[in-house]
């Protein structure tokens, strides 16, 4: 049986992959909140949550139930449509970036090859096709993440929210540029925009793009830092700097809507770590089974995010802008030129 020229099993596999990735991200999001509190707790010589369930393991579920049953408040002067829309707009781009990330090798079921990447399929000969602009798709979705925060900030009709939203939009635009330019170094090595091809090109430890040339090494680090800034993680969490802005763009939000912003923050963290893994750290290549390699790398990067949060103080606004425009942007431009010379001189 075929629909639009593709066998039925292709659609079944697609739905299964979507469910798998979605459940993985959701569970990771829930337990990332727990892990973050525990890890930061230990780093600051505290214990962290330990009351709900053994070692506090049920804490994320308790938090979820609590937020779900809280009273929902929409400020009277708020712009209602945008106010309700904002949490959704924040959450969705974080999840749909996963559509193009290859999280495992191709495997066979009943004679069909199934690549472990949502937006990909293998034809009868076993050649894998995926979105051939995968990286651009990720950039596009990352650039949409800003709307949730901006809308929340504007529609709340509160000065703290508005300032948070303004900061977020300025910050995200500045760091998007440097992050995008850092990825150009990867294109120069991979000569392709398809993530399937980018990952399959990175076999072996020294095949990872971050170790390919000295320039991609720096580019990888800059990309990760810029991504942290784009998703408003500490030390770049100015949009919700609680000492100045109460809670920034989500000051007026309560109940499930607040929970959705919270989820978006952690889902963004998972996505950013997955993208960094795919582009620079060899994707699913490594000593363990492919899927576990990928998950391990993502979790290690997430640990780094939490470590950074426990360690560094927040940037001041002018420092943030200076870092983005005067340090990262020129550096990435230099990296592109340097990488071009390196590749033509040593690798052709």
């Amino acid at each position: 049986m075929e629909i639009m020229g593709l066998p039925l099993i292709y659609y079944g596999a697609m739905i299964l992959k979507v469910l798998l990735a979605f459940v993985f991200v959701l569970l990771t999001v829930a337990y990332a909140t727990y892990a973050e509190r525990k890890i930061i707790g230990h780093m600051q010589v505290r214990i962290g949550p330990n009351r709900t369930g053994p070692m506090g393991l049920l804490q994320p579920i308790a938090d979820g139930i609590k937020l779900f049953f809280k009273e929902e408040i929409i400020p009277a002067q708020a712009s209602k449509f945008a106010f309700v829309l904002a949490p959704l707009v924040a959450l969705i781009p974080a999840f749909i970036s996963f559509a193009v990330i290859p999280f495992g090798d191709t495997f066979e079921i009943a004679g069909y090859k199934v690549p472990l990447q949502i937006a990909a399929y293998a034809d009868q000969a076993g050649k894998v096709f995926d979105l051939n602009i995968g990286v651009l798709y990720i950039l596009a979705m990352a650039s949409l993440g800003v709307y949730g925060i901006v809308l929340a900030g504007w529609s709340s009709n509160s000065k703290y929210s508005l300032l948070g939203g303004l900061r977020a939009s300025a910050q995200m635009i500045s760091y998007e540029l440097a992050a995008g330019l850092a990825i150009v170094c990867v294109f120069m090595v991979s000569e392709s925009l398809s993530l399937q091809q980018i990952v399959s090109d990175q076999g072996g430890l020294f095949g990872w793009y971050i170790f390919r040339t000295p320039f991609t090494f720096v580019a990888g680090i800059i990309f990760f830092i810029c991504s942290l800034a784009e998703i408003n993680r500490t030390p770049f969490d100015l949009p919700e700097a609680e000492t100045e802005l109460v809670s920034g763009f989500c000051t007026e939000y309560s109940s499930m809507k607040y929970a959705m912003f919270f989820m978006a923050e952690y889902a963004n963290m998972v996505t950013v770590c997955a993208v960094t893994t795919t582009l620079f750290l060899g994707g699913w290549h490594g000593p363990l089974p492919p899927v576990l390699n990928f998950i391990a790398k993502v979790y290690i990067l997430m640990f780094v995010c939490m470590w950074v949060r426990a360690t560094y103080p927040r940037y001041r606004y002018d420092q943030l802008m200076k870092l983005g425009w005067k340090v990262f942007l020129p550096t990435t431009l230099f990296l592109i030129v340097g990488n071009a010379f390196w590749i033509t001189l040593f690798q052709k």
């Binding site: 712009s79 051939n132 651009l136 650039s143 709307y147 809308l151 303004l166 939009s169």
Partner: protein
């Protein structure tokens, strides 16, 4: 199937573009415009131009619209009660009719010749859309491409000079 999908996307695009000009609230207008860009991106994908689609979302929805929303927020423009004068109505109607006439003229006078260029679906599948665009940008259209970048550079320098009188 594809025709049905196209009609849905096209209908949403038209509805959203009407909302862009009909919304009282500037932010809602901007949101509708973003939705329109998304529909256009979908149409590009259907025309086998995925690179154009991605650029449409990155540049228009991701950068330009963020700036527009940023400005609306910065000036804190709230819902404006639009003043609709007789002159404005008349001018709008006249322009609309003129555009309609122009479209009709273009559609009725021109005809599809059926000439096919060297790039078809097979070429797209073999080389990839991005590669083809890159190739033509850096060979055939190199001069326009460079001139565009110089124009943009001039615009950037101009903006800096205008914004910062004392450098």
């Amino acid at each position: 199937m594809e025709t049905l999908f196209f009609s849905i996307v096209a209908a949403v695009a038209i509805l959203m573009s009407i909302l862009v000009i009909r919304c009282k609230n500037p932010i809602n207008s901007a949101l509708s415009l973003i939705m329109t860009f998304f529909c256009l991106a979908t149409l590009y994908v259907m025309l086998e131009a995925p690179f154009m689609a991605a650029i449409q979302v990155i540049v228009y929805a991701g950068a330009i619209m963020v700036l527009i929303v940023f400005v609306i927020m910065l000036l804190n423009i709230r819902t404006e009660s639009g003043r609709r004068t007789q002159h404005a109505l008349f001018l709008g109607a006249a322009t609309g009719l003129f555009l309609l006439f122009q479209t009709w003229y273009l559609l009725s006078r021109s005809s599809l010749t059926g000439t096919k260029g060297p790039i078809d679906s097979a070429a797209l599948a073999r080389f990839g859309h991005t590669e083809l665009i890159g190739q033509s940008l850096f060979t055939e259209f190199l001069l326009p491409f460079e001139i565009t970048s110089i124009l943009l550079l001039v615009a950037i320098v101009g903006a800096v000079v205008l914004a910062k009188k004392k450098l």
